[in-house]
């Protein structure tokens, strides 16, 4: 048992920290978040061309780095700390994960190689306009044809859905419900019948879109594995994505603590640093407890994610680790960001100070892929069984 970073993993995190400090400072974040695309092409080019992060867990056979989830969460932690605006999460944690889990060998060869080589972006879309994060949220309809499938429906809350080059779409057979009848399809964003609209969001650092599919034809070669029974595959991809967003949250939860501690050491009232008051110290201590516990949850879940991707962990084990990490990190980040805002006092309420960016990202990521209550209920079904 060895439950800490290796020297190499530590180096990856340090490299990410110094690179992002340079390219993803407050000014860069604010410039990117103010745009509809939500990111700077030049930064994405450096991430894909120079750092090669987008290929971190793409297998070497397809031109990737062939590293694992521990390396991935090390990068995500730093991106969470820096509020990094980029299509990294959608491409790597939604797109690549979905492809690794549900794509046929030919599809992996084609699309993972393309992502690794060209840095094309990707995302995963499944939730319909009614919202929700479980199988019942899927309401796009697919109809199998002689040469593939046709998709019709409207998808909402799609991360980077308006900019991604490649869409992985979850749809269901007409008349099916729940976890039955689910299929996954690879759709180039420029396919005929695809209409995409940016949804302006309260958290401007993570972009969302709505996607209309109207008679979109999918070639047979782009129908992913187990069409009609693909929920377990999608569920695995979503759990991997949950662990990834939990890493972003853990980074954020740590960062707002650090920023706040620095501030309350400097800010003086009543003739002394406000950080010397127990009301502040005890809040800061609670924040550290949550930040550290979040870190432990994410590291463990990352190890399980690696085992899942190599077929050594059951879907229940992955689901448990993912729900634990997502539930805990969601609430830890929101708690810490809320404390940070409060402990900054008036300055924390201004647009100029970055604390609101973390506060908003904490809320948006808390909702995304299921909030803490969603995941606690999911865990309670494992522990207690379903309700009658």
């Amino acid at each position: 048992m060895e439950f800490s970073f290796t020297q190499e993993q530590q180096m990856i995190r340090d490299t990410a920290a110094s690179f992002l400090a340079e390219v993803s400072d407050s000014d860069a974040v604010r410039r990117a978040m103010a745009t509809e695309a939500g990111y700077d092409d030049a930064l994405w080019s450096r991430i894909t061309g120079e750092m090669y992060w987008h290929a971190v867990h793409i297998p070497e056979d397809f031109g990737g780095l062939g590293l694992g989830y521990v390396e991935l969460v090390a990068m995500l932690e730093e991106m969470g700390k820096h509020l990094t605006c980029s299509p990294f999460y959608s491409t790597v944690c939604l797109g690549v994960n979905a492809l690794r889990v549900a794509a046929t060998d030919e599809q992996q060869e084609k699309y993972l190689s393309q992502i690794a080589a060209d840095g094309i972006t990707a995302t995963l879309a499944w939730t319909g306009v009614a919202g929700g994060w479980d199988a019942s949220a899927i309401d796009t309809i697919y109809t199998l044809t002689d040469d593939g499938a046709v998709l019709d429906g409207r998808l909402r809350y799609v991360t980077d859905g308006h900019t991604a080059d490649l869409l992985v779409i979850a749809a269901r057979e007409n008349g099916s419900s729940g976890e039955a009848g689910i299929g996954l399809f690879i759709v180039p964003a420029n396919a005929v019948g695809v209409t995409r609209a940016w949804l302006p969001t309260m958290d401007q650092t993570r972009k969302q879109a709505e996607i209309d599919l109207s008679g979109v034809r999918v070639d047979a070669s782009d129908v992913m594995r187990d069409a009609g029974n693909a929920w377990p595959l999608l569920s695995q991809a979503l759990d991997l994505a949950r662990i990834a967003i939990a890493a972003d949250q853990m980074g954020g939860a740590n960062q707002v603590l650090d920023v706040t501690v620095d501030y309350v050491k400097e800010r003086k009232q009543f003739g002394r640093p406000v950080g010397g008051f127990q009301a502040m110290k005890h809040k800061a201590a609670d924040m550290m407890l949550k930040a550290e516990a979040a870190r432990s949850a994410v590291y463990y879940a990352a190890c399980v994610a690696d085992e899942s991707l190599s077929g050594r962990a059951t879907s229940e084990t992955l689901a448990e680790a993912a729900s634990i990490a997502k539930a805990y990190c969601s609430d830890a980040y929101f708690y810490n960001a809320g404390c940070a805002l409060q402990m900054h006092g008036g300055i924390g309420f201004t647009w100029e100070h970055d604390v609101h960016l973390y506060f908003k990202r904490a809320k948006s990521t808390q909702q995304f892929l299921g909030d803490a209550a969603f995941h606690r209920e999911r865990l309670s079904r494992q522990i207690l069984g379903d309700t009658i």
Binding site: K265, Q278, H282, A284, M288, S296, Y299, A327, L379, L384
Partner: protein
């Protein structure tokens, strides 16, 4: 990072599990899962016999270095030992203060002759230890110790006078380590000594504290010129604080994983009841049970991280510093959950006058978890000051004379 144990460690797991299955039987059957925190008053004689059995098998002091009579287990194997011990329902150890606190302190700070005198007796379970730190006026402000130690040249003995409180296992123990003031003019953490005091002597009077649980794990200990041999001070007079604080460092460690197995047993019992009485259908209870599950799992991951090798970024120290605050809060909440899962039945005790069920005992005793060994408020001060570098609490100026 990897989650699995090596084949050698798994083989070790088999061997300790097998030993426990073979030995925790017969007379010892009734002490399985007994004698833990809140239950330390139960089955003392049987648990003492069990301590001898463990010692015969070489299963006491498993983490001590071999040269001091321990088993010299690796961190991984210590983890496994504590996990298997708790899984098998191994009873609360009567020797845990000697093994976990007194012994490591002597190994770190004691003279060779002190080690030779005391360590074998701890390892064999022949001598039990208790801890004399807190006083009525020295709780969170532990350095405010008033108990005095005066050296009597004629007798070549230290004479200890004062009152200690919250001493668990005082009645059963043979020895007590005591911090007492060697310099009567001193205040705070200076001028203290660390003494090894024999309990069975005329100058020591023990009075059980009647707790809100109706039981008496904790005691008051009165020292009235209690005698302590000249060579039973650890470190020099004045070094007592350093020795005592070094000892606090031993209090969190691998045994935390065994503690978590006990918590797991309690959690499993609550789940069993919830499934049986319909509480498992209540959405609020479901949320709270899942939350307790999340909390316990992360407690384990956090300990695994604490026990793993450090890459030098200081993160492990932080993971270790949150431990007391984390587990005590979690355990207190588990007690609340247990009562709410039981519903109206939570009120009905085992028998009059005041025998509690195990879950009632958990609920009430857990209220001490957030107080002893540094209250949650003190823990937060420590985290804020030592881990986050926030300003220290202002302290009143120390007067040299009253």
């Amino acid at each position: 990072m990897k989650l699995t144990f090596s084949p050698e460690d798994e083989a070790f797991r088999q061997s300790i599990a097998a030993w426990l299955a073979e030995n925790l039987t017969g007379n010892f059957e009734k002490i399985r899962f007994r004698g833990g925190p809140g239950d330390e008053h139960m089955f003392f004689e049987e648990r003492r016999e069990w301590e001898y059995r463990l010692a015969e098998g070489g299963w006491t002091c498993v983490g001590w270095p071999k040269e001091h009579g321990g088993r010299g287990l690796s961190i991984e194997q210590q983890v496994i030992f504590h996990e298997e011990y708790a899984r098998a329902g191994g009873p609360g150890r009567v020797g845990h203060i000697g093994e976990g606190l007194a012994g490591p302190t002597l190994i770190a700070f004691g003279l060779d002759q002190q080690k030779q005198r005391f360590l074998p007796q701890i390892r064999s379970g022949k001598e039990l230890w208790c801890q004399g730190y807190s006083e009525p006026g020295a709780g969170s402000d532990l350095a405010n110790v008033r108990t005095k130690a005066v050296f009597d040249e004629a007798k070549n003995k230290w004479l200890i006078t004062g009152q200690k409180i919250w001493t668990s296992l005082a009645i059963e123990s043979d020895w007590c380590f005591v911090i007492a003031r060697t310099d009567p003019e001193s205040k705070g953490s200076r001028g203290l000594g660390f003494f090894l005091v024999e309990m069975n002597q005329p100058g020591v009077d023990i009075r059980p504290i009647n707790q809100l649980t109706g039981t008496s794990e904790f005691n008051e200990v009165f020292f009235d010129a209690a005698e302590c041999d000249g060579d039973c001070i650890v470190g020099e007079p004045g070094d007592g604080w350093k020795v005592a604080m070094g000892l606090l460092g031993f209090e969190r460690g691998v045994s935390t994983l065994g503690q978590q197995m006990l918590f797991q047993n309690e959690f499993d019992e609550i789940v069993r009841i919830a499934k049986g009485n319909g509480a498992a259908q209540n959405p609020t209870i479901r949320q709270r049970i899942a939350d307790a599950h999340i909390g316990l799992k992360i407690m384990r991951y956090n300990s695994m991280r604490t026990l793993s090798s450090d890459v030098g970024d200081g993160s492990l120290e932080k993971a270790a510093m949150i431990y007391k605050l984390y587990w005590s809060s979690w355990h207190r909440n588990l007690g609340n959950l247990a009562m709410d899962v039981l519903g109206p039945e939570a009120e009905i005790i085992e028998s009059a006058p005041y025998d509690l069920t195990q879950l009632q005992s958990l609920f009430l005793f857990a209220r001490s978890d957030t107080i002893y060994g540094g209250t949650n408020q003190i823990q937060r001060n420590i985290i804020a000051e030592r881990a986050l570098g926030l300003p220290r609490e202002p302290r009143p100026p120390v007067k040299t004379k009253d």
